[in-house]
Structures are given as C-alpha cells and as structure tokens.
C-alpha cells in the first residue's frame, strides 16, 4: 500500500489557506445526523470535541479518568508557543516553522509544521477568549518567556501550570457542549478496539471501568486523542494511566505506526530515588531560563554542592554550546547530562544526576530588586533575600514540588536533576488531514506522529494538541464526512461489532484466567528496564537486537504467568493495567525494531554508532530522510516509507554552538 500524505499542492505558505478554501463542507442539517467519537479528553480531544460539537456534529467523548479534566495535558508546566511577535524580537510564522523543523532534526513534514505555525496565534486568541488566565505584564498585556531551541520569546504561560489552564479552557468548552446535549460523555471508560467495516472506522468497543460492562458505540468517524506511549518505559513523566492501548488497537486494525522509536527524554526531571519509584516528576524547562546546569570538575566529588567553589564547577552546557547555553533543545541537553554522568561526574547518592542551580539567578534578580527599591550598596544577603522572592513568584510551585518529593530546599541548595522519558514524537501515522491509514480514523495531538520530527521543542506539545483540535480537524474531517452524509446511523448490531466485542471479551477473560504468579507491574517494570537500558537515551545495534529477544521472552512469560485478581464484571484496576501492559509489550518490540532500522542519529534517537567526533548526533539524510510507517502484519511488521521532501528549508547539521 502506497502512502499518500495528501499534502496540497502549491506554495508552502499557501497550502493551508488553499486547503481551507477548497475542502468539502458538510451542511449544518447533515452535521446533526453525523456521529463522531472522540477518545481521550486532553488538549487535542477536548478541543476537537468542543469544536466539532459547536459545528453541529453529534459527539461522544471517552476517557478512562473520572472526569475529562484529568487528562495528562493538565500536567504540562512551562508554556505554549505562538508566533505572535508581541515582544518585537523578530518572531514570525516562518521562524516558528523553521525552529520547529530544525528542533525536530529535519524529520518532520514541512507542510504540517507550517500549518502549525500559522494557526499558533489563533490558539492564544481562542484561549484568552475562553477566560484562560495567562500571565500578564503590568500594562495588562500578555507576557512571554523563552524556551529551549529558540532565540525569541514566544512562549505564553500561566505560572508553572500552563497545561492545566489550557486544558481547563478546552474542558470548559467541552462542558458547555455537554450541557446542551451536543456531547455525550463516557468517563471511566476505556476504548478496547476500533470497529472497521468495509475498510472504514465505524465505531469502538469500550469497557465501562466501573461495572466492567463491554459497550458498543457506532460513529461515522473516530478520533484518537489518546496521548503518547512514554509509559512503555514504566518510569516516565507520564501519568500512571497513560497508555498506548487505543493507538495500538488502531494499529492492529490497519493504522500504520509512524517513527515509533522517536521518544523524547526530558533533561530536567527529579532523579530516581529507589526501586519503589512509580513515576518521575518533571521540573519545567522554563527553569532553564534562569537556572544554570553544572557538575563538579572532579570525578567522584564528595563535597556538598554549595561547598564547591565556582572555579571547580563545570557548566558543561554553557561550555559546549555558548550560543544557546542552558537553553539547547531537550535531546541535546539530555545527552550532555548522560555523557557527564557516564564519565563519572554525576552527583547525588546515585551519581546519576547533575545540578540545576539558581544561586546566580537569585543574586541577579535580587540586585535588580535592590535597584528598583532604591537600596544603595545592598549586601549580598539582602539581594539574595529579595531575589528568592522573585524566584518564588516565578517558579514557586515547582520549587515546592521539588521540596515535597526530595525533602531538600532548592532555594538553599541546587536541585538535582536527571533526564527522564517525557514525550513520544512517534505515533499513529497520519496524512495532512490527520487521518490514519484507516479511512474515518483520525489521530490528534501526541497520539499522532506528525509535527515534531525526531525531537519536540519545549512548549510545542500544547500548541500542537490545540492546533489539531481547534483549528485543523474541524476543516479536515468535513472533507471526509461530506461523502458520508448518506450513511445512516451506524448500526452496532452488525457482525463486525459482534466480532470485535467477542475478541475483547475473550482477551479479558484470558487475563483473568491465566492465574499465574506475578502482578502486572512485575512485568511492566522489567519491560521498562529493557527499554530504558537498550532503547533509551542511547541505542546501539547489539543492544537493540538483545532487547527484541528479551521483550519477546518477557511477553511469552507475561501471557503464561500473569496474575490478575478479581473478576471482569467489577471495577478492577489490575485488569485495566493488564490490557495496557500487554500492548506495551508489543509496542516495545516495534520501537526497538524501528530504532534498529534507523541507522543514523537524529533528535531523540541517538545511535551510538552514528555520532560526530564531538559526540553530536549524526544524521544520514541520504538514507533516512523518511518517515518510517510500520504496518502490523500477522507475523511482525512491514515497513513503509514516506519520503520527506524539503522545498523551503535546507537540512543541515543542527548547530547550537
């Protein structure tokens, strides 16, 4: 099957406006009788559900949490990018587009990314209109800060809770539609299969997580807005419930999986403290605006951070990348931290951490405050006291969180941080219209592969999720549904629904009946370790081959020795987890396969065999300038390639020096 990305013809900057003016429309009367299922209620899902319901479609939303508002988009801290150029610092749609393509190490589609940059401004406008309380300047206008991988200030934010505020904005729009009956919510429901009839997505099978009932839901189109699959690593910054199941079921039903090996390791997370660890906590990238990252110059240093004099500290990011300093993209910062720790310069008990230090920023802010308050010849102690207040206002909630988790006061001593799995650039392959290879089945937000290439820039995930939901899908879905207006309400008594439901029930009963020795987490932790060690921040051929074997063996053991207590007809969180981990066990293998296939280093995918003399990622454009789209086969996978064509940007070695 040849991949058709359906990118419109014409000049890059005109593609989206041309598309919008020429795509097919569905008239309002017809919209009423068209059903759309939206799975997942994060930024992409909630914004899509609300926007489509506003247009007049009949929408059903599904989420496994108890309320739509809990989706993990809520945890995004730092901000959302938009090419508004409010700061008059040279930003433009083109620059946002360029930064995103470059940040993604030239593995994203030009047309998609340009569209993303084009609609970015409208997202801010929409959110402001919804009553999202963004940070503002004293003049009452919106405030911006800078993020990694850019040299302009284009990040809009609401303290350290931007994701929360944006999600609550989208959720409020969704609730408004629920109130008038245009959206019907199915919370505490998990999608367990897509129903495909005559090659088109026609509905889903979902399990009511409270009663255990298996339900059928028909629709003219199904949108998967189910986020990323970082939890394949067990430890990640994702929520405990984040999973790949919906995307994976779609994959099994014919949707190709794009670039599964592209995972983002975020450089600033709180390090692992022990075997009990259930998840990792991110410290926002915005901290790199002011914090300086360093390790001791001496290997195996035992002194406390504050006792190490300035000249014995190695500010390795500033040293290696003077142009971007502490604000290099995430993949670069993460690898640099790993390099230092592997070389024996790590800090903390585990020696797998680096310092993120605010002392300089506190002093700097303090001095500004002294000037502001007219305190002449202020001593350092006064400046530090005032500086702490400024830092508290900017990052207080993050500092508090750090203290709760580690028991250490970050105002007094540098934070210890280490990279952790954070985001997955890979996902379901979609065309320009966000449709997967199954007609009528769409993937939005982190669940698709489309806009971030091999590495996502900070504050771009929120932008993409909302762009897809508010401004892309409302147009592109019409182009498909215009041909579906004659399709009557989907009858869920059709044999395809029977078949899908039976398969789901059979699988659930199987989990319950294995009655083996080990819990789901036992297997999940092992899978996570394999993935982190061999398909994590650095990968090599040998390791990946081993990982594939290990995962297969683990999968076999899982299906033989799993223990799921309780029954299928009740609330059973262990059963929910079992289904998710079963899918991770298959996905993990595909990720390794993809990483093994991609004989180059790019963005978050770092193959040790492919690096420059200075240890930077080395792309192999002549062989790998493509999207790897994997088709699920009865045995294994088949690789399809979508060539990436750069009409406007000329790929070069990324340089942040």
């Amino acid at each position: 099957m040849a991949l058709n990305n359906r990118i419109p013809a014409g000049e890059l900057a005109q593609k989206w406006s041309t598309y919008k003016s020429t795509c097919k429309l569905v008239n309002p009367a017809n919209k009423r009788s068209i059903d759309i299922i939206v799975v997942g209620t994060g930024l992409a899902g909630a914004s899509a559900a609300a926007s489509l319901a506003e247009l007049g479609y009949s929408v059903k939303t599904f989420c496994f949490q108890d309320s739509g508002r809990r989706a993990h988009s809520i945890a995004a801290q730092g901000g959302i990018n938009a090419a508004k150029n409010y700061q008059n610092d040279g930003d433009s749609v083109y620059r946002l587009f360029y930064d995103t393509i470059k940040g993604g190490d030239y593995r994203a589609r030009e047309a998609n990314v340009h569209r993303l940059a084009e609609v970015s401004g409208s997202i801010i406008d929409q959110c402001v209109a919804q009553g999202v309380p963004f940070a503002r300047e004293y003049g009452g206008l919106l405030s911006n800060r800078s993020f990694g991988g850019t040299q302009v200030q284009r990040t809009f934010y609401a303290a350290g809770q931007t994701g929360q505020q944006l999600l609550l904005g989208a959720y409020s729009a969704q609730m408004r539609q629920v109130a008038i009956g245009k959206i019907k919510e199915y919370n505490r429901h998990e999608m367990l299969d897509v129903v495909v009839i005559d090659g088109k997505a026609r509905g889903i099978i979902a399990r009511n997580l409270v009663t255990g009932e298996i339900e059928r839901h028909g629709a003219h189109a199904v949108l998967l807005c189910t986020g990323g699959y970082g939890n394949v690593f067990f430890l990640s910054t994702n929520a405990m419930g984040s999973n790949v199941t919906a995307a994976w079921k779609a994959h099994k039903k014919g949707a190709f999986f794009g670039n599964p090996c592209f995972t983002q390791i975020h450089p600033t997370c709180i390090p692992v403290s022990g075997d009990h660890q259930s998840k990792l906590t991110l410290m926002s990238e915005s901290l790199r605006n002011d914090g300086r990252i360093w390790v001791p110059k001496k290997q195996g240093e035992t002194r406390k951070a504050i006792d190490i004099p300035e000249e014995e500290r190695d500010y390795y990011l500033e040293r290696r990348y003077p142009a971007f300093g502490n604000l290099v993209p995430r993949d670069v910062a993460s690898r640099a931290a790993k390099e230092r720790c592997d070389a024996g310069y790590g800090v903390g008990n585990s020696k797998m951490a680096v310092y993120l230090d605010f002392a300089a920023a506190i002093l700097r802010y303090g001095k500004t405050e002294c000037t502001k308050h007219g305190i002449a010849n202020a001593d350092d102690a006064t400046a530090i006291r005032l500086g702490k207040e400024v830092v508290k206002e900017k990052y207080g909630n993050l500092f508090d969180m750090y203290e709760k988790i580690t028991g250490e006061n970050p105002y007094e001593m540098p934070m210890r941080i280490y990279p952790a799995v954070h985001y997955t650039m890979g996902g379901l392959w979609v065309d320009y219209e966000l449709m997967t290879t199954v007609p009528g089945l769409y993937a939005l937000g982190e669940a698709n592969f489309s806009d971030h290439g091999a590495n996502r820039l900070g504050a771009s995930a929120l932008m993409q999720g909302l762009a897809d939901g508010y401004f892309v899908i409302p147009y592109t879905i019409g182009n498909y549904l215009a041909d579906e207006i004659r399709t009557p309400k989907i009858d869920t008594k059709q044999p395809a629904f029977d078949e899908a439901e039976n398969a789901v029930k059979e699988r659930i009963n199987h989990f319950i009946n294995i009655k083996g020795q080990h819990s789901v987490d036992y297997f999940h932790k092992q899978l996570g370790k394999i993935m982190w060690d061999k398909c994590g921040m650095a990968r090599n051929e040998k390791g990946l081959k081993e990982a594939i074997q290990e995962i297969r063996a683990l999968r076999e053991e899982f299906w033989k020795d799993l223990r799921v207590p309780g029954t299928a007809s009740e609330m059973n969180p262990e059963l929910d987890k079992a289904g998710r981990v079963a899918d991770f066990l298959e996905l993990g293998e595909l990720m390794c396969l993809d990483a093994l296939n991609r004989n180059e280093s790019c963005g978050g995918h770092f193959r040790e065999e492919f690096q420059t003399e200075e240890g930077e990622a080395m792309r192999v454009d002549e062989n790998f300038m493509y999207v790897a789209a994997w088709e699920s086969k009865k045995e294994g996978w088949e690789l399809h390639k979508e060539d990436l064509v750069y009409d406007v940007i000329h790929p070069s070695q990324r340089n942040y020096k």
């Binding site: 629920v178 929520a239 207590p565």
Partner: protein, 252 residues
C-alpha cells in the same frame, strides 16, 4: 536526603462496590522507605496483596504530580493527609512516624458515592461546571489576545482561583460537605476577567442551583476547605461568589 525505613499499621476502608456496606481492614506496611510517596506505599501494599492472592485496594490516582486532581484519600482525618497544600500523591512517607497507625478513608459526602474501596464518584463537580463554568465562545470567534488588556492583579487573582484541580478535598473536608470552594473558584475565575462579564449573572445563579441539586451542603464559613485545599485556594472566593450571587439576584 537521608532516608530511613518505617513500619506502619494501616486501617483502610474496604468496600466492594456502591451497594456494599464496607468496613475497615487492618494491614501492616513494613520497611517503607521515607522517600516513598504515600501512593507508592499503597503500590507496595497492593503488590503484596496480589502476591498473597487477595484483592488489591482500589484508589484513584493518575498524574502523581499533584495537578490532575484524581487522588482522593482521607488520611488520619485529613483530606489528602497531614501536609498542608499537598495532594495525596505528593504526600511523602517522611510525614509519618515509625509504628504509627494510619487510617485511610474515602472522601465521604452524599454527593460523592463510594464506587469501590477508596474510589468515589465526583461527577457532580463536572455537572456544576456544565451549569455555567465556561465562556460561551465558539472556536474561531476570538479577537486578538492582546486587544483587551487585563489588569495584572485581576488576571493573577483569576489565575489563583483557576488553579483549582477539582479534587473535591474541599467537600471532603467540610463538615457540611459543601462544594462552595470549588464552585466559587470557578465563578471567581470568570468574574474577575472581562471575558466572563456577559454571562456573569446567569453563571453564578445556575452553578449555585446545580450545586444544591447535587446534594452538597451549605457553607457555614468554618474555613476547613481553605485549610485542606491542596492548591490553597482562598475562601475570599466564596465571599466573591456570595457577592456575585446577591448582585445577580437583585439585578433587574
């Protein structure tokens, strides 16, 4: 941070489903690292229960970084446990002493029926939001974000209210099971912003009516909600709601 290991006696509410009466059961948690979060301690306990062939304890949790609002335990008489301004998932075992007995109950309120063990149904909060917790603006209708300057102090106050994570600790902590802090946080967020003005009166009336309909109690200003709110949302928002409600009632 220096860590040690502690042993605890746990008294945990077990209830098979909404119909079951439920009762406390006692468990021993041994060799618990003080570095663990409270929920990680539950993970360890559940792992043991599964290995012993028993039913693990059901509890709500998701992000485990204090923002999704899903976790909801009443620990030793306190919603979200002993630390102020902290969700259950961010509570760490440093808060407990070796040998301590820890009682864990679900949120208790008529409007929050127990689904299983420590899991409750908080959909009533969603319905309060549906009653008016939004600005009626369709996608695509917006004007430029900077076309309407907003007083920074008001924007900040609006944000302070908007920080609510909808966990329901205010209801759990209130002796009347009142949802006033939750509702007032939403009302305040919009009342303080120009975008919220057109629907100001209907919003407060409808949200309060829905709150009463859901079976939440009335506010008697004890302040327990503010003391337990993991986001430390102020009861000045409740006063604002009262003000909004009065002015809406007297408006022509």
């Amino acid at each position: 941070m220096e860590h040690k290991e502690i042993n605890l006696n746990l008294r945990i509410w077990r209830q098979k489903n909404a119909q079951d009466k439920g009762q406390f059961e006692n468990y021993k948690a041994e060799n618990i690292s003080t570095e663990m979060s409270f929920l990680e301690m539950f993970d360890v306990l559940n792992e043991r229960l599964i290995n012993e062939g028993k039913d693990p304890i059901a509890f709500d949790h998701d992000c485990r970084e204090g923002i999704c609002g899903m976790c909801s335990m009443h620990i030793n008489g306190r919603a979200h446990g002993p630390w102020d301004g902290t969700t259950t998932c961010q509570l760490h075992m440093r808060a407990f002493k070796d040998g301590e007995t820890v009682t864990v109950e679900p949120w208790r309120a008529k409007a929050f029926p127990v689904l299983k063990d420590l899991t409750v149904d908080r959909s009533a909060l969603d319905r309060i939001q549906q009653a008016g917790g939004y600005v009626s603006v369709n996608t695509g209708n917006a004007v430029d974000g900077n076309s309407l300057p907003i007083d920074k102090t008001k924007a900040d106050a609006s944000f302070d209210a908007a920080m609510c994570i909808g966990c329901g600790a205010c209801v759990a902590a209130c002796k009347n099971s009142s949802a006033m802090l939750f509702t007032s946080a939403k009302v305040s967020q919009y009342a303080l912003l120009p975008q919220g003005q057109p629907e100001r009166n209907t919003r407060v009336m409808n949200m309060v009516a829905q709150m009463d309909k859901e079976g939440f109690g009335a506010c008697t200003n004890t302040g327990a909600c503010e003391a337990e709110c993991p986001k430390e949302i102020s009861i000045s928002n409740i006063a604002r709601l009262n003000r909004e409600y009065l002015s809406a009632q007297f408006s022509l």
